[in-house]
């Protein structure tokens, strides 16, 4: 919980990690990828405020105590959602698996939500693994990497028949939230891995599932925005948007926020720190304090209020994951319903005012 100026914010970190990327976890023969990957992540941390930068060695492997302090004690987070990233081709025990996350989280009841993952190219064995993970850890969400390379396959689409089979199984197992990584990637080499049209179709065909597009399709924000206006069950995951832009590029941060608020709306935007790339503390505090620069070029973007920020920082995610919010941290009736699907508007409704019109 973050309190400032008499306002209290319930904070859900919708996207964070507990990884081990130290050299003893590198797969022999794949060291250059394992090293390149974590160094790339570490460079992203450089886009945050200088006083929050870590030495590479600490960044490769931080402890459970570090995480609890950075995220909960200092970082104002009430509940954090683990998003796993396997990368077992490069990291022997995986980069951060469902199991690693849950074994740590189990020591801190009520603090974490454990998401798992699947890859539709893993066949029946993958279905069984998904079933085991859901039963063992009570998962309500999955994180998917459609661009991931897998045994000769150069990525997949959510619309592939195998992916639909997995989505059906996941839904029957009680999974509700599908986090899809549409952001910086490596493989496949020739396809545009940021293409979000597959989310568009899957969201239509699985109306009971929520699709959270992580990193808002960066660098294809426009495609994501246009798609999100047409699908009531598509949400924007703000990880990287706040961490990568708010401090380093405040003007572009304001514009990206303005576009997201216009196309997607405050009910469907979900905060995520992407810890340990960036600590939540400065992101939460900065976001609560943020507003558009007072300039003409920002004048026709939708406004942000305290209620908007409460939704984005925690109440929307709490709604998607049935996280209990203390009564004093909820919104009053006039401030609307967090994560409201019915507020989704069709594109035609968006075709109204334009600056200078």
């Amino acid at each position: 919980m973050y309190e400032v100026n008499g306002e209290k914010y319930f904070v859900v970190d919708g996207h964070m990690h507990y990884w081990n990327a130290a050299p003893d976890n590198w797969v022999p023969g794949a060291e250059k990828y394992a090293k390149g990957w974590i160094e790339c992540f570490h460079a992203y941390q450089g886009l945050g405020p200088p006083e929050t930068h870590w030495p590479l060695e600490h960044f490769e492997r931080y402890s459970e105590e570090d995480l609890m302090k950075d995220v909960f004690e200092d970082g104002h987070v009430d509940v954090a959602i683990f998003q796993p990233t396997y990368l077992k081709e490069w990291y022997r025990e995986g980069f951060n698996t469902t199991e690693r996350n849950a074994l740590m989280g189990e020591k801190h009841p009520g603090k974490f939500v454990y998401n798992t993952r699947f890859d539709p190219r893993d066949g029946d064995a993958g279905i069984e693994e998904l079933r085991r993970n859901v039963e063992r850890f009570g998962c309500k969400g999955v994180k998917l990497y459609t661009a991931e390379w897998n045994a000769g396959s150069r990525g997949y689409k959510l619309t592939d028949p195998a992916a639909y089979r997995y989505l059906e199984v996941a839904q029957n197992l009680g999974i509700r939230n599908i986090h899809v990584h549409k952001g910086p990637t490596i493989w496949p080499l020739d396809k545009d891995a940021f293409d979000v049209s597959d989310v568009d179709h899957a969201a239509t065909d699985f109306p009971e599932l929520n699709f959270i597009v992580e990193h808002v399709g960066l660098p294809r924000i426009e495609d994501f925005c246009f798609m999100a206006t047409q699908e009531p069950n598509v949400y924007a995951g703000l990880a990287v948007v706040i961490g990568g832009l708010m401090h380093a590029r405040p003007k572009f941060f304001a514009k990206v926020m303005g576009e997201l608020l216009f196309w997607v709306g405050e009910d469907k935007m979900i905060f995520g720190s992407d810890y340990a790339i960036w600590e939540p503390k400065w992101q939460v505090e900065g976001f609560v304090a943020w507003d558009y620069p007072d300039r003409e070029e920002f004048s026709d973007y939708p406004g942000v209020t305290t209620a908007s920020k409460k939704k984005m920082l925690g109440l929307n995610a709490a709604r998607l994951y049935d996280i209990e919010v203390p009564a004093e941290l909820r919104l009053d009736k006039e401030s609307g319903t967090p994560a409201a699907r019915e507020d989704a508007q069709l594109v035609d409704d968006k075709s109204q005012p334009v600056a200078g019109a």
């Binding site: 886009l47 150069r154 910086p184 080499l189 020739d190 660098p219 426009e222 832009l245 075709s351």
Partner: protein, 252 residues
């Protein structure tokens, strides 16, 4: 169109060789015509050119660098190949070598470009198509972003969307943004002359009118915001990786 520098190398003093390679303005000017297709900016202003030199005998050497070890190899390949073409076309260059440094696919890209192998052959089975479609997709995004750059000042000055829809390119006051928009449209084979409408569909080239106008202008703006934000992340990352490169900074 890219390719070809504006300048030529100064005549060598007899081509005897022996003196060290030196930085070349003509090469740099040629490289200014090479764009990062995704960011819609010259690789020179992005800070992607680590060095470019030429020897007296016409051996040109260019070293390129990118913001991360894992930058998408398809775009990286296009930039290295375009740089190779641009440098090779500079008068006086006898032999060109363009090398991408510090990238997970450096060997495949550098070897493939040097051998004129194309993308698919360079990646030996990991890629299934050449990159023309990808390039065209991003040129269309550049057209949309350029439309916002050209139209926003007109809207701020009081023009209505309906008035914009009646305007042709020849009506717009000259600016570098207008030149770039015309160039991108021409590269796609879309109308780019003085008589062409300002607002066109970037796929069909048809004029945009009526009810479609507000949405078209909104899409143009979000496309520009997306490209600018992405470019700002990339240049920020480049600075982390190579402190104090000659990269762009956010204007105040």
């Amino acid at each position: 169109m890219r390719g070809g520098g504006r300048g030529a190398l100064p005549p060598s003093a007899g081509g005897s060789g022996g003196s060290p390679p030196r930085a070349s303005t003509a090469l740099l000017e040629a490289l200014e015509t090479v764009h990062d297709p995704e960011l819609n900016r010259p690789i020179t202003s992005l800070g992607f050119v680590a060095s470019c030199t030429v020897s007296e005998s016409g051996d040109a050497r260019v070293r390129l660098r990118l913001p991360t070890y894992f930058c998408a190899p398809n775009f990286a390949f296009l930039m290295v190949a375009d740089a190779y073409d641009a440098v090779s076309a500079v008068p006086g260059v006898q032999h060109a070598e363009v090398v991408l440094e510090d990238h997970f696919a450096s060997d495949a890209i550098n070897g493939g470009v040097a051998a004129r192998a194309g993308f698919v052959r360079s990646f030996g089975g990991e890629a299934v198509s050449e990159l023309h479609g990808l390039r065209a997709d991003f040129l269309r995004k550049a057209v949309m972003a350029g439309t916002d750059q050209v139209c926003r000042p007109l809207l701020s000055a009081g023009a209505s969307p309906a008035e914009l829809a009646r305007m042709v390119l020849g009506d717009v006051p000259p600016s570098p943004e207008l030149d770039r928009l015309r160039q991108r449209r021409a590269e796609l084979g879309l109308p780019a002359g003085d008589g062409a409408p300002v607002l066109i569909d970037p796929v069909t080239g048809d004029p945009v009118t009526g009810d479609a106008l507000p949405l078209h202008l909104r899409r143009a703006r979000v496309t520009r915001v997306g490209i600018d934000a992405n470019a700002s992340v990339c240049t920020g990352m480049l600075r982390q990786r190579y402190p104090d490169p000659s990269a762009e900074r956010e204007d105040p």
